[in-house]
């Protein structure tokens, strides 16, 4: 009470004083307090939103990070089997083309050694569409040009077949031209990772994204050097810089970089960051292609996967991280060696390797492959365009450019090489021999007769030419190649026509309705041959006999046959079409002849076998598919007459000396004024369509047999095909006839040849071409 009483006056008495003394500071303090809050709020809100924006950005990009990977396009894998005809030199050529090295030891995948008649090779593991083939050490013994024996040395047993990984023939790049092969951290040799950390960011496993010690050290170093010699960036910062930010050097960017590095470290493990770094880092430039990531760099510089790198090769790659262009081992091998050795020294210093090992590795050559087998420009631009055209029917352009699809095509580099050589040499020779022949160009397409796979596609005399794609886009008159449709239309009517039916090879005149337009075709030799058997007219490509036959059959019927053969282009049917006033591309002609080469089955031409995802998961298969368009018997008859065309008819001069057992059917074609020279030839295995002409459509002065067929002959001589005999349908019966007159003859008589006929007595035993049976469309 007292206290209170005492206190109160005291309180009261002091109150005014207090009020006068304390009121101002209190107010100020309160104000300051409020101000502090306001400032804090004002500061925290933007900082918070700034950090939160960066945080979202960091997480979204890192988690959703999908590097744009180029699509990789492969040739067919080489399938080796016992009994296969394959000169050893072609096998070593194929191995060299996929980056295999000749080495006596053959202890690493990607090495081979040829001694006398035996080739030892250690294949690389490869994921195909159907199976994953492990690496295998194989011993292949040859008997001259034939594979006689294959031994799997790992399993110590004989094997009947083996598959060699395919050659990469092109890539479809992202728009920014970055090239990379993704790797997972466990695929990368630990020593490489350790070396990278030692060189680029020693405190990587200790810091939280930013290293104050690193910055301080860089500052001191730069001060000493009087300029910028060392950056204080951690690996995380470098990754952030490449991943998220533009390359300019501003304070804002630096701040963002630091903050994002902290956030990245906050959210993700060191291993995740390291893996991303290894895939992101820039390690070289090849024309306009940028080499990113350790996986791609390993192929680019050493032509092997990252798991197979030797110590000094790892050191070189680590050395390149700092400045890939400056230490480019192809351009500046000395600088690169110096840099590599510095990395090796550092590795020894950090006790990752022994000093002795470092010294040993330092004397190794750089071992960088002269030219990357992993090409930036495809050696087969024309074929690649066909692949793109076919693949674009199923995939979006952006997916092709960024999903890292692995596209396995049908291209056979060995056949392609022979075809290119035949075209280049052939054109050169023809131009030398014929004065009128200048600026000659050409196209050649080779397909599998039965499966329609495009094995080779040649565009002109210079196969590297990436401009006008003649096989796909040169729409040219096909001349007498069209005649097969006329004769096939006739032979389908087996009650009326056979190979010995008599045709009239006499003058023909066609007038339009008003009579103003007159068409009077002539034979190539300008003569009329009177009555001739059908096979003889076709083999010798008589125009007059063909026109008479075509008009007898009806233009609509011939047009329908052309459509059934696979001509999809729309065209108007005039009598002149019977002699080839129909314009098609070499590819369209190939599709048309494919149907007769495969015995009457339409087989769509395919350039792609299958597609895998970037990590080897099967995505899509372009399966073999056929559709019967003609009964096999009339097609057999037609093909038999086409064999006469090669041996006895228009092709007789060019086919001289061809092996007797080679049952090759073919047809020459020449357009008006000798502007186009064609030859379509096939056997049981391959179909080849060859075209020669000029880009400006001027005359080349060559017929089908004096031009295109000679190029084809050169190709066949180089290829030496197997010569499988054609399969004779059940309804076929053979009789001896006189070749020129078509009259019955007997064995041994002069001019007598065996001629196939369609017999009726066995009709029930064979598919008759009955249309209602296969109307499946």
């Amino acid at each position: 009470m007292n206290r209170s009483r005492n206190n109160r006056p005291a309180y009261n008495s002091r109150r005014p004083v207090r009020r006068s003394q304390r009121s101002r500071p209190q107010r100020t303090r309160r104000l300051a307090f409020r101000l502090r809050w306001i400032i804090l709020v004002l500061l925290v809100i933007p900082v918070f939103s700034y950090v939160s924006v960066l945080d979202t950005q960091v997480r979204d990009l890192f988690e959703g990070k999908r590097w744009a990977l180029p699509a990789r396009v492969y040739a067919r894998p080489l399938e080796l089997y016992v009994g296969m005809k394959l000169p050893p030199s072609l096998l070593t050529e194929e191995l060299a083309a996929i980056g295999y090295k000749q080495n006596r030891q053959v202890d690493e995948p990607g090495q081979y050694y040829m001694s006398r008649d035996t080739l030892t090779v250690k294949t690389r593991e490869f994921q195909f569409w159907d199976t994953s083939d492990p690496s295998a050490q194989l011993q292949i013994r040859f008997n001259e040009d034939t594979v006689a024996e294959i031994v799997n040395l790992d399993q110590k047993r004989y094997t009947t077949l083996a598959r060699i990984e395919p050659k990469m023939i092109g890539k479809i790049y992202p728009t920014h031209h970055e090239d990379r092969v993704l790797v997972q951290l466990e695929e990368v040799p630990p020593l490489l990772v350790k070396a990278l950390v030692a060189v680029e960011d020693r405190q990587f496993f200790d810091h939280n994204g930013i290293s104050m010690r690193g910055i301080a050290r860089a500052f001191v170093e730069n001060l000493k050097a009087g300029g910028f010699v060392q950056g204080g960036s951690t690996l995380t910062q470098q990754l952030v810089k490449n991943f998220y930010l533009s390359p300019e050097r501003t304070l804002t960017r630096k701040m963002n970089e630091a903050m994002m590095s902290l956030l990245l470290e906050w959210h993700y493990s060191k291993e995740q960051i390291l893996e991303a770094y290894l895939n992101e880092v820039f390690l070289g430039q090849d024309g306009n292609r940028a080499i990113h990531g350790i996986g791609m760099a390993s192929w680019f510089y050493f032509d092997k996967p990252v798991g197979q790198l030797k110590l000094h090769e790892m050191a070189l790659l680590v050395g390149l991280v700092r400045a890939a262009s400056q230490y480019n081992p192809r351009r500046h091998p000395e600088r690169a060696t110096e840099r590599r050795n510095l990395v090796l020294d550092l590795m020894a210093q950090q006790e990752m390797i022994s000093l002795a090992d470092a010294e040993l590795e330092k004397v190794e050559p750089l071992d960088v492959v002269e030219k990357p087998a992993d090409i930036s420009v495809s050696p087969y631009p024309a074929f690649l365009q066909l692949v793109r055209q076919q693949v674009q029917q199923d995939y979006r352009e952006e997916d092709l450019r960024s999903e890292g699809l692995q596209i396995f095509t049908t291209l056979d580099p060995l056949i392609q090489g022979l075809a290119e050589k035949s075209m280049a040499k052939g054109i050169q020779r023809l131009e030398r021999e014929n004065r009128r022949t200048r600026n000659l160009q050409g196209a050649m397409i080779v397909t599998g007769s039965e499966n329609g796979e495009v094995l080779a596609m040649v565009n002109g005399k210079n196969s590297q030419y990436a401009g006008f794609n003649r096989p796909m886009d040169a729409v040219r008159q096909i001349g007498s190649l069209v005649k097969v449709a006329v004769y096939l239309s006739a032979l389908e009517d087996s009650r009326t026509y056979s190979l010995v039916s008599t045709l009239k090879d006499i003058a023909y005149e066609w007038r339009n309705k008003t009579g103003s337009d007159v068409w009077q075709p002539k034979n190539y030799d300008g003569r009329e041959h009177g009555k001739v058997p059908l096979h003889y007219a076709l083999a010798n490509s008589f125009n007059l006999a063909t026109v008479h036959l075509g008009m007898e059959l009806g233009l609509d019927k011939v047009k329908e046959t052309l459509k059934r053969m696979g001509v999809e282009r729309d065209f108007k049917m005039y009598p002149s079409v019977l002699l080839g006033s129909l314009s098609l591309t070499p590819l369209e002609v190939t599709q048309m002849y494919q149907t007769v080469a495969s015995g009457g089955f339409r087989v769509p031409l395919r350039a792609i076998r299958n597609v895998l995802t970037h990590d080897g998961k099967p995505l899509q298969r372009y399966a073999l598919s056929v559709e019967q368009r003609f009964d096999s018997s009339p097609v057999f008859l037609l093909n038999h007459a086409l064999q006469f065309a090669v041996r006895e008819g228009t092709g007789r001069h060019v086919s001289k000396g061809l092996p007797e057992d080679l049952a090759i059917a073919g047809k020459t074609g020449t357009s008006n004024d000798l502007r186009d020279s064609w030859f379509a030839g096939f056997d049981s295995e391959l179909l080849t369509v060859t075209w020669l002409g000029r880009d400006d459509n001027k005359s080349i002065g060559l017929s089908g047999s004096s031009g295109a067929m000679r190029i084809w002959r050169e190709f066949i001589d180089n290829l030496e095909p197997r010569g499988l005999p054609p399969v004779t349908p059940n309804r076929i019966q053979w009789r001896w006839v006189d070749y020129k007159t078509g009259r019955w003859s007997s064995k041994g008589a002069r001019g007598a040849v065996l001629m196939p006929f369609i017999g009726n007595q066995v009709a029930a035993d064979s598919y008759s071409g009955d249309q209602h049976l296969f109307k499946f469309e």
């Binding site: 399938e79 296969m84 569409w129 159907d130 039965e450 598919s625 559709e627 399969v727």
Partner: protein, 136 residues
């Protein structure tokens, strides 16, 4: 699918990929094709029919006119109920199986089943008649 159809399909597929190689096959590549055929059979038995088809296509690249390979490919398409393709592939096999009557019978049975799958009764009847005529 009716019971008899299931039964016939089962019969066809049961012997699929076990067919012996025909005599028209090129001698030199016989062993390699046999290996692939047996690989294809393993995949087929494991239900990996597309894998089996891919391997049969590999074999056809080595021996393009082998009617047994074409027939087996047709059988795989039949199992996948890809009727049109199955019938066409069987017709292809037929065009090559000139010396193998038994295989041609099988092909016509296969075509009959494919036609039935398509609901084309005329085609089914005709194919069945062909099979019967050949078998007798």
């Amino acid at each position: 699918m009716q019971l008899w159809q299931r039964h016939t399909l089962g019969l066809v597929l049961g012997v699929l990929l076990c067919l012996p190689l025909s005599t028209v096959m090129a001698e030199d590549s016989k062993a390699a094709v046999m290996t692939l055929l047996s690989e294809a059979k393993t995949f087929f038995d494991e239900g990996e029919s597309e894998q089996a088809a891919a391997i049969l296509e590999r074999a056809l690249r080595i021996d393009p006119r082998n009617p047994v390979l074409w027939h087996n490919l047709a059988g795989i398409r039949l199992q996948q109920e890809d009727w049109v393709r199955a019938a066409s592939l069987a017709a292809k096999s037929n065009s090559l199986a000139v010396e193998n009557k038994w295989l041609r019978v099988r092909n016509w049975v296969l075509i009959a089943l494919a036609c039935d799958g398509m609901g084309d009764m005329d085609c089914t009847m005709e194919a069945r008649n062909r099979a019967r005529a050949l078998a007798n």
